[in-house]
Subunit: 300 residues, 2 copies
């Protein structure tokens, strides 16, 4: 049986037909959800139109699973809020779409879908509990505890990017308004900014990594420092949750040869003795597809 899986972003939807954990057909589509004033009804209309378009062509699809950038109440598909779409509050997103499309619809937070995908089909296969970290312009992620996606009391679990790794007076300011968050040191935005500060050059992280590989010590040390801060934040999560597998995805994992050794070293430095050396930090094997495959798995 095939399901329609979607990874819904602000301006793009990536969708795929998935059968037994394998992507059969993939399609990308522009969609305008980026308007901050988007209303609940407009969101439902646009998503309905998008999905109907596909369902009209494929009569083998039995369910829809989707990842969406927002906070959801448990596994109910009820959207509590979406940081970038402030007009959306308490929307029965899955139920409303299901009613319109006449097919079962499951929806969950996009980063949590990536965690589910990674645990079921990617680098986290074989473990019941997983901390998945997404390294992009911001830092987020998803938690799987004892084989169940963990959302927290208000859908806001795993604000990993805002774990604090610097409590000093000169801690860097984060986009959240706070100081010292790991996102302010190790996100793509932070790396770009830190490189500009030391080298006076404004360029993207891929270029900065290229420079690091060619011997630019400033570039190299910024990636190593980012890895080190990531390791500190992972250690805090491990000491709380005693999770032994961590996966990472996102564009920045291209710098894995610099990030990974620094992250594991500082993680171990910050763990209690019985946990040192026991935690695997793995690079995603699915990357972009983790979210889609996780969304498909929501329909199981």
């Amino acid at each position: 049986m095939s399901v329609l899986a979607a990874d819904i972003g602000g301006t793009n939807i990536r969708a795929a037909v998935v059968r037994n954990g394998t992507i059969e057909a993939e399609l990308h589509s522009r969609i305008e959800l980026g308007d901050r004033n988007l209303s609940e009804d407009a969101l439902i209309e646009r998503l309905t139109a998008f999905f109907l378009n596909i369902l009209d062509e494929r009569d083998d699809i039995v369910a829809i699973g989707a990842g969406f950038p927002g906070f959801f109440l448990g596994t109910s598909g009820h959207l509590i809020a979406s940081p970038n779409l402030p007009n959306l509050h308490q929307v029965d997103l899955a139920a409303r779409l299901s009613e319109r499309l006449n097919i079962p619809v499951s929806i969950q937070n996009d980063a949590l879908c990536a965690a589910i995908g990674e645990q079921q089909f990617g680098a986290g296969t074989g473990t019941d509990s997983l901390l998945h970290v997404t390294l992009g312009t911001g830092i987020g992620g998803g938690l799987i505890l004892n084989s169940a996606p963990y959302t927290g009391e208000s859908g806001m679990a795993m604000e990993f990017g805002h774990l604090r790794v610097d409590h000093s007076d000169h801690a860097r300011r984060c986009g959240c308004g706070g100081y010292g968050c790991v996102e302010a040191y190790a996100s793509a935005t932070a790396i770009t900014e830190r490189y500009f500060e030391v080298a006076g050059i404004r360029t993207d992280t891929e270029d900065i990594y290229g420079r690091a590989c060619k011997g630019d010590d400033d570039a190299k040390s910024i990636f190593e420092s980012a890895g080190s801060y990531l390791g500190m934040a992972i250690a805090e999560a491990v000491k709380l949750l005693d999770i032994h597998t961590v996966t990472m995805s996102g564009g920045l994992t291209g710098a894995w040869p610099l990030l990974h050794p620094a992250a594991t070293e500082s993680m171990d430095d910050n763990l209690i003795p019985p946990l040192k050396g026991k935690i695997r930090v793995l690079r995603s094997t699915l990357n972009d597809q983790a979210g889609i495959l996780g969304a498909a798995a929501l329909t199981d």
Copy 2:
């Protein structure tokens, strides 16, 4: 139906007959488990003798629930290790006692029992998820997530005392060998030590709190600083787990009027905006009885 509940420490066992969440009769007893060379067989012998003594007098007891200072595999009653009893490794503690006593036995980590007690009968009543912090010579605690005690992959979840609240070069050294752990700032041991450092007087935390109440600014600022560090550590846990209720027990909660305002203020300073003002930090209403009542609830 009555159950026998026990809180097993290194040198003392507190036991009680519990009926429907109410303690009917309480008894304390010295027991020698404090010997670091204690073997598995000796442990089983001593606990068996202790429990048999009570069971012989009470024929209404249908099960035993106990808290024990060690790491347990899920809810199996299988002891993985005990920090203070290094000879114990991979002991089927609940199963072996049950076989000897011919009665169902459930055993779980002692701090997790306190968390269960607090959630079912104490300050955490009415919430499905709870972060319970025990403030004693060390700092520990237990996690309840979606109504289930959470133990982690190797029974070591909720090493709350070792969350890091100072990453600077002058961070205080912790008993775990690391630096900057909240336990190095806010445990009874740390408060005693910090007061000695500034005032040159070695005394207990009750006395230091008494001094603070009488206008000793050094004593007052140490408690407020301890509260502030506790708030930072709580904020990290909240950002990961989106838990809205935190309870605290232990001797140090006697200093609640100084600890609590400092903890909530620094917690809110360290939370992301949507979580600020939403998290309750509550003083235990059960204190010493939380562990016993939680142990009794293991038998449900």
